[in-house]
């Protein structure tokens, strides 16, 4: 059985936290640069110009792209033939602690939702585990800002609502989010499963490469149609009018019950960050 030491996990997580907050993935960066060229709104274009400059400054001067360096969300795939020497969850939390400290990232986590005392080290992270075949450990971090998180929604749709119901709900969520979620957005959509799985799927959808549409033809079509309908709303960059309200719509699906069609919409701003490594 393959063995991995907890310290190597902590070291990897530390680096991932820092990297994710300084540089967007190439697919995200390309979408923003292209939007700046194609944007039709006057103020919208000006805002996209600032966002392009912002990405360049962040990279050159190693300043976080956004001051909301997020709550650290992880999707972890643990190979069932891998043995972790030490506590895996604590190894990840320690990596977050070190990364947010050493990377001069903002500590944005409070220990209790009502008492609201800042934990001072951005832990705990939120960790979703999957057990998979093999002997590898795959770590994906997606630091999530809450300006957009706060505008996310779950709709417990009925089967009779169909594709039209899905579209109407997603468009409503985008309209309600308006300028608050920092458009241009990436819209993560989870359809199916149950109440909580739809939300996890929506978050996972945000981490998918924007140049890799859904392999399912009907879902791919829905992604394309939703993107064009969202961009026809005219909300635009910063909510100040324009042709780029969303940079992408990514949809993930799962089997569901005969009586239901859960739909979750996880909003993300243009600072859609994610980094993954395989150990």
């Amino acid at each position: 059985m393959r063995v991995i030491q907890k310290d190597s996990i902590t070291a990897a997580v530390r680096e991932m936290c820092i990297q994710a907050n300084l540089c967007l993935s190439p697919d995200m960066e390309a979408r923003i640069r292209n939007a700046e060229k194609s944007e039709k709104g006057t103020l919208g274009k000006k805002i996209l110009e600032q966002l392009v400059q912002n990405m360049d400054i962040a990279k050159e001067e190693q300043i976080p792209i956004c001051q909301d360096t997020g709550m650290a969300v992880f999707f972890v795939k643990v190979g069932q033939d891998l043995h972790v020497e030490g506590n895996l969850t604590e190894a990840i939390q320690e990596g977050v602690r070190q990364g947010y400290r050493d990377g001069f990232l903002r500590k944005s986590v409070v220990s209790d939702p009502i008492l609201r005392q800042n934990t001072g080290d951005n832990t705990p992270a939120i960790i979703h585990y999957d057990i998979v075949p093999g002997d590898k450990l795959e770590l994906l971090i997606a630091p999530k800002g809450f300006g957009s998180e706060n505008m996310s929604r779950i709709f417990m749709l009925k089967p009779a609502d169909g594709v039209e119901g899905i579209k109407a709900s997603v468009l409503q969520a985008v309209r309600d989010a308006g300028p608050n979620a920092c458009p241009p957005l990436v819209v993560g959509v989870g359809i199916g499963g149950d109440f909580e799985l739809s939300a996890i799927l929506a978050k996972k959808a945000l981490t998918r490469n924007l140049e890799s549409p859904s392999p399912l033809p009907h879902i791919r079509k829905l992604e394309e149609e939703l993107l064009s309908e969202i961009n026809a709303l005219g909300i635009g960059p910063g909510g100040l009018g324009g042709s780029t309200t969303a940079l992408a719509v990514n949809i993930e699906t799962y089997a569901t019950h005969i009586a239901g069609m859960p739909l979750a919409v996880n909003m993300c701003c243009h600072v859609n960050r994610h980094v993954s490594v395989i150990l």
């Binding site: 039709k40 962040a58 903002r106 001072g120």
Partner: protein, 186 residues
């Protein structure tokens, strides 16, 4: 219209700012977000002093990342303003003239803005690295225990913002999309 203004500014200057103006702010502003607003609000309700004077000042809804050695501040973009809506009318009644944030405001805030003659600016959300370059000095002046949420006094130079809601209640968020769609009708 492009304008350059110096902060703090007075009510007469507030009245000259109109929704849609692109404004560069130079001068002194203060940061405060959720936790600092809650403290100031609760202190004011009890009739206690608050640690900064609101009179004629501008609050930037910001919680920056920590400054690296030799730097003034870290990443420093706006946070969502609506979370401050509950506390804002009281602060406006105490003389607050300007707010910088992003996103919609409540009806109560807009009414209070027209009554007290105040202006709401949006900075570009998610442009924290770029905006940090316009901040020349930063000093924690109150509520240090709140960490990133402490009140900071900032000296800014040509800090770029857009007037979204002016002191007459004109709201760019309501008009900009409609105007864009009208102009770009197929």
């Amino acid at each position: 219209m492009e304008r350059h203004i110096t902060a703090p500014f007075d009510k007469e200057q507030v009245k000259e700012l109109h929704a849609g103006d692109y404004v560069y702010i130079t001068g002194t502003i203060y940061t405060a977000r959720d936790a600092a607003h809650k403290r100031m609000y609760e202190a004011l309700l009890k009739g206690e002093e608050i640690p900064i004077s609101l009179d004629g000042n501008t609050i930037y809804y910001l919680g920056p990342t920590p400054a690296k050695e030799g730097k003034v501040i870290g990443s420093a973009g706006p946070t969502t303003s609506s979370r401050m809506d509950k506390y804002t009318p009281l602060l406006l009644s105490k003389g607050l003239n300007g707010m910088i944030g992003k996103g919609k405001r409540s009806r109560e805030v807009i009414e209070s803005m027209t009554e007290n003659k105040a202006v709401y600016f949006a900075a570009v959300g998610g442009a924290g690295a770029l905006l940090s370059k316009c901040i020349k000095e930063a000093e924690v002046v109150a509520y240090e225990d709140l960490g990133t949420e402490a009140i900071r006094k900032l000296r800014v130079e040509d800090f770029p913002v857009i007037v979204v809601i002016d002191s007459d209640g004109n709201n760019l968020y309501e008009t900009a999309t409609a105007e864009y769609l009208e102009k770009n009708k197929e």
